[in-house]
């Protein structure tokens, strides 16, 4: 019985010891975990402060200039009292601050057609995704991170064009600069304030065109019976070459600006094919016209082919023989101007001088002020490039170069996303007059950009 008792007591003690040791181990574990938790929390407080510092540094770097940022790995470092990004090759080269390592990763951002950030699409050169990391080894390896999207600082810098000199520095086509206020651009033309259609009717021929100022009867205006002329009633011109140039000269009042073609009917009275040459404004450009025997034929010539260009008034037409036959007689009738409505050019452009923003920039908005009388319009296209020599791809809000795809809102419109980044910038202003009666007047252009 006694020996039985002894064994029981030992077993009890062992069991008790076992239980106590389990409890002690559990208590130790509890303290160990709690103390580790406390240390984690403490580490995180410090790491969060470092992470925030890194984000502040990033913003500071952005404010120094968008070009300071590029995709890659960096850590911020103070250099000359200023935050600078220090590029690194891998996270192992991260900056060591006490027990912590930190670095950031800058990545490109793409947007879909709706402008939302997507995995694929058009690269948004004004937005970066930045992942910021702070990691530490003790008591256990851990990393905290933050993701931010960084956009260009909207610095609201502007490029303003308003003076005559500003506009004169650009390339003008069918437009001209004026100085009524402080420099404007308008369409060329307007010498016929209120055009009523073609001016050179057969029966009003004499009123608008003179003949042979030299006195030689190379061209005569004559009256004929109906039926002998092409479509009119009385007058037509007889061209009778005597081996010299024949001339038609328009009168003082005629204004050909706003037209681009001259049209008339010509009749070859000979029984064989004949030709004559036509030129304008004494500049030596001639166009050969061949006429079948004894038939009326429509002659339609872009007058840039015989004259300098159609921004100049067409003051003279010269006729001279082609394959010269003595005493060949041509008849001309129904002479009109076409290819426009007269008055003002229907479309003129100003391609601006090149603006240098100093560094690669995002060109955000284009605003302008203009007078737009009835049936006129002003619109813009924009182009940005990293090279002052171009290429210049002018596009409108739809991203095309069509002359109907234009920024037309004077209070400002966002420049087509994806083609608005570059160091150099130009705009192309389109001035339009649908009926030639009035011209729009462009007064100033403002372009907002963010370096």
């Amino acid at each position: 019985m006694s020996s039985k008792n002894k064994g029981q007591i030992l077993a009890e003690i062992l069991v008790a010891l076992g239980i106590i040791s389990i409890i002690i181990i559990a208590v130790y574990q509890l303290f160990a975990v709690t103390s580790q938790g406390k240390e984690f929390a403490s580490r995180e407080t410090q790491a969060t402060a470092l992470l925030q510092e890194q984000l502040e540094a990033l913003k500071s770097i952005r404010e120094q200039g968008w070009e300071k940022l590029a995709p890659g790995l960096y850590y911020p470092t103070i250099n000359g009292a200023i935050w600078n990004p220090k590029p690194i090759q891998s996270p192992e080269e991260a900056e060591q601050i006490g027990d912590y390592k930190r670095y950031l990763k800058i990545e490109k951002v793409y947007r879909d057609e709706a402008g939302n950030i997507a995995q694929e699409g058009i690269e948004d050169k004004s937005t970066y995704q930045v992942n910021s990391y702070v990691s530490w080894q003790k008591p256990r390896e851990r990393t905290i991170s933050a993701t931010t999207f960084l956009t260009r600082f909207r610095d609201n810098l502007t490029w303003v064009q308003t003076t005559k000199a500003d506009f004169d520095a650009g390339v003008l086509q069918y437009t001209e600069t004026t100085q009524v206020y402080d420099g404007e651009v308008q369409l060329q033309g307007g010498c016929q304030a209120n055009p009523q259609g073609p001016w050179i009717f057969d029966d009003a021929f004499q009123n608008t065109w003179d003949i042979h100022p030299s006195g030689r009867n190379d061209i005569k205006l004559v009256n004929r019976q109906q039926g002998q002329v092409y479509q009119g009633e009385k007058a037509l011109a007889i061209v009778n070459f005597h081996g010299a140039d024949s001339k038609l000269r328009n009168g003082e009042n005629i204004c050909t600006i706003g037209f681009s073609r001259i049209e008339f009917y010509a009749y070859n009275s000979a029984s064989i094919e004949q030709s004559f040459q036509i030129g304008g404004n004494w500049i030596g450009k001639f166009k050969e016209i061949t006429l079948s025997p004894q038939s009326w034929q429509l002659v339609s010539i872009p007058y840039e082919e015989i004259s300098g260009n159609n921004e100049e008034n067409l003051n003279f037409i010269f006729l001279k023989p082609g394959n010269y036959q003595p005493d060949t007689i041509f008849y001309l009738d129904n002479m009109t101007l076409s290819g426009g409505v007269g008055g003002y050019f229907q479309v003129g452009t100003l391609t601006s001088s090149i603006f240098d923003a100093g560094s690669s920039s995002s060109f955000n908005r284009i605003e302008f002020s203009a007078q737009t009388p009835q049936n006129t319009e002003v619109g813009f296209q924009a182009a940005a490039s990293d090279n002052p020599d171009g290429p210049w791809e002018f596009v409108g809000p739809q991203g095309t170069s069509l002359d109907t795809d234009l920024y037309k809102n004077p209070t400002g419109e966002g420049i087509f996303f994806g083609k608005n980044i570059g160091r150099y910038f130009r705009y192309k202003a389109f001035l339009k007059s649908f009926d030639g009666k009035n011209t729009p007047v462009l007064e100033d252009v403002t372009v907002n950009y963010s370096p």
Binding site: S2, K6, I9, L10, I13, L17, I20, S21, I24, V27, Y28, F31, T34, S35, K38, E39, A41, S42, T45, Q46, A49, L50, Q52, E53, E56, A57, K59, S60, E63, Q64, I78, G80, A81, I82, W83, I97, G98, F153, D155
Partner: protein, 177 residues
Amino acid sequence: MKNYNFSVISHQSSVISFRRRRVGFTLIELLIYFGLFSIVTLIITTLFFDISRFWAFAQKTDALQDNARTIFTNLTQTIRSAQNVNSPQIGQTSSFLELNNQTTKFYLEDKSLKRNDQGTINGLINNQVEIDNLEFTRIQNPDGKPTVQIKATLKAKTILGPEEPETLNFQTTVSLR
């Protein structure tokens, strides 16, 4: 009588035999008891020391963390909503910070961080910690808002015994909004 004697003898003999067996057993038992008792006592004592050390550590860590967070929040919010930074100057480092046309000042006094708002002085940390080092560095931020880098070393005051004091290094940067 005979019976009585027998019974006495038998009783005596049984007592003797009992005593002989019991003495050896008690010694071994005592040794085992003492051995186990000392082990248990040792373990429990160690445990108590560990608990108290942990308690001290926890107190210090909590104190450091609470105070660091208080400083961090207070400085961050104040600097972000400040109108301007008067001191330190750009590129310079000092142990105090003056904001809002010198109406707000953060400075170190008796190893404690004080905040002075137009004459009203408040301490930002409690008596469980002290600040060993405090630096405000003004960073240049071209085209941007004034930016201040803050570096501080907080030290927990010893609570139990001459143990190693815990410290917390704290570094961040805040700019005006």
